[in-house]
Subunit: 319 residues, 2 copies
């Protein structure tokens, strides 16, 4: 089973949610070189959303990926394929070239369960343009079973290559993951499965291993865990632990040593108490992220009281 | 099953391996209060080794626990029981009072597999003095099966209450833990089992949950993970995640907020690349700890090359 494993490194895409994609070209190039040398199969180099649709006034090359720019900074593809993520309603189909004219190999579509129909329309379009595709259903821990069944009836008929189990809130444990994977396998026997975890409860790596051992073949991760709030499963753990001859830990260590320690000084992600609390409570991390950006950032007891109080004013209105 | 769970917080004992037990009395008292309010069943308040046998010249109250001192700083026992760890050949039986004259409730004996006979002699003595006892077999990941079988023949006949699975090197994953627990259960049907994990690969919490779900009832942990090298399973994760009415997260958050952030600035433990590497390689962390204390501390590629080189001069001669 482990022979067919694919790692998708999301450092730029999910890590960009930490630092507003403030990555240097040198870092992205070093990361691409390092991942290729490490045998990592895919690198998600950002979002391919539309600056116009998001009313963005500042340039943000890793959030609004542009093929001409990408060709400049990665003039020669190495081992690692490139992927981009898009959000429903934020991607302009006119921005997407046919695959043979693009450096991208895969386009992944993130959606909530209620938008699966829209997500699959995008998938169909990217598939017809020649891309590998995935559908990443977010906030899975809050999806009622019947909604999942309805959604899967549509997914089954779609050409989508990979369907992802996304633990957006970092609230699932290995037992939950095993249950979800088995449900997905039963309902989608003709699809490959993917897993995207968050590390709120220090379970991202364990959850990813559990998914892999139950047949999931696409594993998302980030170097040094860099991703929103508590971050993701660590790429260096996957390449060092998974028994696949092509994986090498050393090039990933080189990226960490050269870049990530300094970045971690500047920006914050990882096991941090308010994120742990939001994971345990199965809540979106946005409230905890706002708290960490305030002067009260280390008042953990106060934070816990606020988010668990029935009269909470800082708890999110909806997930 | 989860009703009979016992958490043993090892912050002082295992955390002392990080800071040479440089804990203030105020911290230890706050920790005891916090753990009692959180419903944590045991606090391991240090080692009960002999300063004389270790030729120690400096006082070190949490390493060489003394009953008179303990009674002074914890004049009134609350919910949480107290335990101490001893090492083979380092404990002087004359230092140990009968339980009814001591504030300690449990004495745990750490040993390597080759010393199980000596460990069980100590267990018998502490048992006869009225203490709860455990035998903690270290470095389990390197123990051949036949040695374990021989050792267990002795353990079965001993009055020891709890037998621990100790992942000293942080090299085991949940599948390994399940295998070990099932082996221990088969061979020691009349004993309660315990688990002590290290977090080198971010698997300490997942491994502890796996052990619990397979019937292990004594779970070691530390507040904010404070323990040697990569540290231990986090107490705050256990009390927030395990469904047991008496567990409360808030008092543990209070201890973290008041003490642990500052302590983590001063002393180092947790997910740190050289410790991750020693976990993956199933090595004692001492080489990585020496490296972290040197000027080369962040040269991860160099460290990896040194410890994996066949001519390595810094790899440990033995485990």
């Amino acid at each position: 089973m482990e022979k067919s494993t694919n790692i998708i490194d999301c450092t730029i895409r999910d890590g960009g949610l930490v630092n507003n994609w403030d990555f240097s070209v040198e870092f992205v190039q070093d990361l691409y070189e390092g991942l290729s040398a490490a045998g990592v199969e895919y690198m998600e180099i950002g979002y391919k959303n539309s600056a116009r649709l998001l009313n963005a006034t500042e340039p943000n090359p890793w959030r609004f990926l542009d093929d001409h720019f990408l060709k400049e900074i990665i003039p020669e593809k190495k081992f690692t394929k490139l992927s981009a993520l898009v959000d429903i309603g934020r991607v302009d189909p006119n921005d997407v070239l046919p695959r043979e004219e693009s450096v991208l190999d895969m386009i992944r579509v993130a959606c909530y369960i209620r938008e699966v129909d829209k997500g699959l329309e995008l998938v169909q379009m990217f598939h017809d343009l020649g891309y590998e595709t995935s559908l990443n259903i977010m906030a899975l821990s809050s999806v009622p079973e019947h909604q999942l069944i309805e959604a899967f009836d549509m997914v089954k008929k779609s050409p989508v290559d990979v369907v992802y189990i996304v633990d957006s809130f970092g609230s699932l444990d290995p037992k939950d993951i095993e249950h979800q994977v088995n449900k997905f396998k039963d309902m989608l026997p003709n699809k490959q499965l993917g897993i995207h975890t968050h590390n709120n409860m220090q379970l991202a790596f364990a959850n990813t291993l559990t998914a892999m051992r139950n047949g999931v073949t696409f594993l998302d991760s980030s170097v040094y865990g860099m991703g929103r709030a508590a971050g993701n499963c660590n790429t260096e753990l996957l390449v060092s632990y998974i028994q696949k001859a092509s994986y090498e830990m050393k090039p990933v260590l080189g990226v960490i040593e050269k870049h990530m320690l300094e970045m971690r000084e500047k920006w914050e992600w990882g096991y941090i108490i308010p994120y742990m609390i939001s994971g345990v409570l199965n809540e979106h991390p946005r409230v905890a992220m706002a708290y960490r950006a305030s002067d009260e950032r280390d008042n953990f007891v106060d934070f816990y009281e606020k988010v668990t109080s029935p009269e909470s004013t800082i708890a999110p209105a909806s997930k």
